[in-house]
């Protein structure tokens, strides 16, 4: 399978990365701006989320309805997300509609209306999203865990708090937008049915002369860490654990990804087998790899009935550790097959490819082909994974539990 990539770095700091894909009718675009939650001013967390919502309330002379109708007419499915570093606008549509969609997004980026009258409902929606977290304890547990694990403010909850949202103002947020909605460090990624020369020309035309200096990333502070219990009269205890691992750009990255697959990839993985299949302790247990530019973690979640929560914690931690001692050749081979297979199957989605090449550029400043990844995965040996796990052991956990009772956490420090 031959993959082709085209990339271009513009003078204003914006990078365009792309992957044409044959035999598809769709195209997917993601636009990542250096305006994520880590740039929210201190005391005004939630700014990025409100801004992402507010940006779609009119742009380039169109009001909310005009903007919405223009995108709907093009059959464009779009989402706005906030991550640590970025506000990400993503859109999928038929390939032939990409040029028109791009033109509309250029308006959103460069000429958003950000009117006073649409500020209040935008803020209200984010406040409601924050409220809704109380009814999603597993999601709340993982979000708050991230906040305690990563240096502040890299892991901040994207909705902020009731207090921080209450002090946001239309004018303040406009100033914030002027500072962070910048092409400097922005990544535009496109995958699917498109013509490179035309895309290059369009991006140059609509975004090439967009000039805003890069936002300043403030200093980070050490994370809060610790062991937290949030009491809730819930049917399950929601257990969330994090421990440190290597970033995407690290030479042991593939060892870490393979370890995660051995632990949590599929129904024969260690966690599923030991915690669920053999002991019936949970319906859901999993661990997943997550990386920012300079920090990364293995994030583990288990939802257990309160009476089984203690044993669930102990067995889960035991399994996270045991693999560094007795990982087998057969397990590693299986993990390699799983990882490579899932890369190919996910690669059939234009949206997934657009996201993957954007992440590659952000972490590595280059794009990796599936063939290259397969080679690097295959090159990892059992001793490499064990060595990695010994250097980055399942210790020094940050933990958070939402449920009726706190747990005995002495197993974390054994």
């Amino acid at each position: 399978m031959s993959q082709v990539f085209h990339t271009k770095e513009f003078a204003n700091g914006l990078t365009l990365v792309s992957e044409p894909i044959a035999d598809v009718a769709s195209s997917a675009i993601t636009i990542s701006l250096p305006a994520g939650v880590r740039f929210d001013p201190e005391g005004r967390a939630g700014s990025a989320s409100v801004l992402a919502e507010w940006s779609f309330r009119g742009a380039g002379g169109r009001d909310t309805r005009g903007l919405n109708d223009a995108l709907d007419a093009l059959g464009c499915q779009h989402h706005e997300n906030v991550s640590s570093r970025h506000i990400v606008f993503s859109a999928t549509q038929l390939g032939r509609n990409l040029p028109a969609v791009l033109e509309i997004f250029a308006d959103i980026l460069r000429r958003p209306a950000l009117d006073d009258k649409t500020f209040a409902p935008s803020l209200d929606l984010i406040r409601q999203d924050l409220d809704a977290l109380e009814d999603e304890p597993s999601r709340k547990a993982m979000m708050q865990l991230r906040e305690k694990f990563y240096p502040h403010p890299l892991g901040r909850g994207i909705y902020g708090s009731a207090e921080s949202l209450a002090v946001l103002s239309a004018e303040g947020l406009r100033q914030h937008a002027a500072a962070c909605m910048s092409p400097a460090g922005a990544i535009v990624s496109v995958a699917g049915d498109f013509d490179w020369d035309r895309l290059d020309g369009l991006v140059g035309e609509h975004l090439g002369d967009w000039s805003v200096s890069a936002p300043t990333a403030g200093e980070t502070r050490p994370p809060a860490r610790g062991i937290t219990h949030i009491p809730k009269d819930s049917a399950q205890a929601h257990i969330a654990l994090a421990h440190a691992t290597v970033t995407v750009s690290h030479e042991q990255y593939y060892a870490a990804r393979l370890a995660a697959t051995v632990l949590s990839g599929g129904m024969s993985s260690r966690l599923f087998t030991e915690v669920r299949e053999k002991r019936g302790l949970v319906y859901h247990v999993s661990t997943s790899y997550h990386s920012l530019k300079d920090h990364a973690g293995m994030f583990t979640y288990a939802g257990a009935a309160p009476a089984k929560a203690q044993e669930t914690l102990e067995v889960t931690v035991g399994e996270l550790r045991r693999v560094s001692e007795d990982l087998t050749e057969a397990e590693l081979d299986k993990a390699k097959t799983q990882l490579k297979s899932s890369l190919v199957m996910r690669g059939e989605s234009t949206a997934a490819r657009a996201g993957a090449i954007s992440a590659d550029w952000y972490h590595l400043k280059r794009l990796r082909s599936l063939a290259e990844i397969a080679r690097d995965v295959d090159a990892v040996k059992v001793e490499d994974v064990k060595a990695h796990l010994q250097q980055w052991p399942a210790r020094d956990f940050v933990m958070l539990v939402i449920g009726p009772e706190p747990l005995d956490t002495s197993c974390l420090t054994l």
Partner: protein, 408 residues
């Protein structure tokens, strides 16, 4: 792309949409059975059985099953609904035969007592997990209310009581009653070697003995009740609205899909502008649920308790406005573009096509290529959409609210 089909001598239908340019293939066994085919005593048995299918057969133990799937690098899962239980896997083409050997074998499970006893705890854990998800609880109660007195009122997971009381023999009897080869379809999509697919299906499934497995269909107009379920542990008010809609067999299902998009799509719909844009609700969307011999329009709204009644009245008002005054041509066109776009995207993945091809066959014994689906969609007229709105009456609603409120 090419459509292939055959039927084994025992009545198992095997169909495939063969796409040689896909990078993977996916296969699924679609069993036409679900919670509506149970009785209250064995409520939850279809879903519990779905779990037990992965616990092994005479040839394979539970841990071996899991290991084999993972060694194939498969992406696999199963789901149970009110009407269907589907077991599926996606693999790279070179693993087609090995995957089908495994998947086909699973469909005649051993149902070992010790596996049954262990998995019962997992089912109870799954029920507990959904206890902590108010939107899901609201949906279960909405279905129970709307379909009161009808088999579709029964929820898929069962209750802790019904699951605790369930015996392994009850499950075996249910399996023996429902999993006839004539009541199951094997679907394949993607980069498939058709001859090998059929040959392997024959090897693995020809010994399944045929028997009758029927389903009684009865109409349901919906109870029309308005109920508030009070739970002060829940933070927001979760509101469900349901009204009758065309069945999966109905020609007007395309018009129904367009109607639900115009009314309540997540962007640019009536509910979007009436509720999300002014932030009266942070979620408000309408979906069209096609069922066997019946159907439903479902609307979900999430809002602050103090604005819940207002949000509900606004939604009902929007339904009435559509029925009284219709919609613009621009709205219809936008709905067509959005649905066509979404279907095209989904269709680029074998796993995305699997359920589309599968349910077209299960419900209508029909194969419709994506291009023809999109053509049909675009040929639907405004009159046809309005006919659905009026004939089915969008205002004939069952309402179920779950949250701190005592009434809605």
């Amino acid at each position: 792309m090419e459509f292939k089909n055959t039927t084994l001598s025992n009545g198992l239908t095997v169909i495939a949409e063969v796409n040689p340019s896909a990078k993977s293939m996916a296969a699924g066994f679609f069993a036409k059975t679900g919670s509506r085919d149970e009785t209250d005593e064995i409520a939850g048995v279809s879903h519990f059985l779905e779990h037990m299918m992965f616990k092994g057969t005479d040839r394979r133990g539970a841990l071996e099953v899991n290991l084999e799937f993972d060694e194939l690098g498969a992406s696999y899962n199963a789901f149970t609904s009110e009407e269907n239980t589907v077991y599926f896997a996606g693999v790279l083409p070179e693993f087609q035969t090995a995957m089908l050997d495994l998947l086909g074998d699973l469909l005649r499970p051993a149902l070992r007592q010790e596996d049954f006893d262990m998995e019962k705890g997992v089912i109870l854990d799954e029920i507990a997990r959904y206890e902590d998800q108010p939107t899901f609880k609201m949906y279960e109660r909405l279905m129970a209310s709307h379909f009161r007195g009808h088999p579709l009122s029964r929820n898929v997971l069962g209750t802790p009581d019904s699951i605790n009381a369930l015996k392994r023999d009850d499950m075996q009897q249910y399996f023996d009653r429902r999993y006839s080869p004539g009541n199951v379809t094997l679907i394949g999509v993607g980069n498939i070697d058709w001859d090998a697919f059929v040959a392997k299906a024959g090897d693995t499934c020809s010994h399944w003995k045929p028997f009758d497995a029927d389903r009684t269909l009865s109409p349901c107009g919906g109870s029309g009740l308005r109920i508030a379920v009070t739970d002060r542990k829940v933070n927001r008010e979760h509101i469900g609205i349901m009204s009758p809609a065309p069945a999966a067999q109905d020609d007007s299902r395309f018009a129904a899909q367009l109607l639900s998009t115009i009314v309540g799509d997540s962007t640019g719909s009536r509910l979007y502008y009436a509720l999300i844009d002014p932030a009266i609700a942070d979620e408000a969307h309408t979906a069209y649920d096609m069922l066997d011999g019946t159907g439903g329009f479902l609307t979900f709204i999430s809002t602050d308790p103090q604005r819940a009644s207002q949000a509900l009245e606004i939604a009902l008002d929007e339904f009435k406005k559509i029925m009284d005054a219709g919609f613009s041509d621009a709205e219809l066109q936008a709905a067509k573009n959005k649905i066509a776009s979404a279907a095209t995207l989904k269709g680029e993945l074998p796993m995305g096509r699997l359920t589309a091809v599968g349910f077209d066959w299960v419900y209508r014994k029909e194969y419709m290529p994506l291009a023809r689906q999109i053509e049909t969609l675009f040929s639907v007229t405004a009159d046809e959409v309005m006919t659905v709105a009026r004939e089915f009456d969008l205002t004939k609603v069952t309402v179920l609210a779950l949250g701190p409120l005592e009434e809605i």
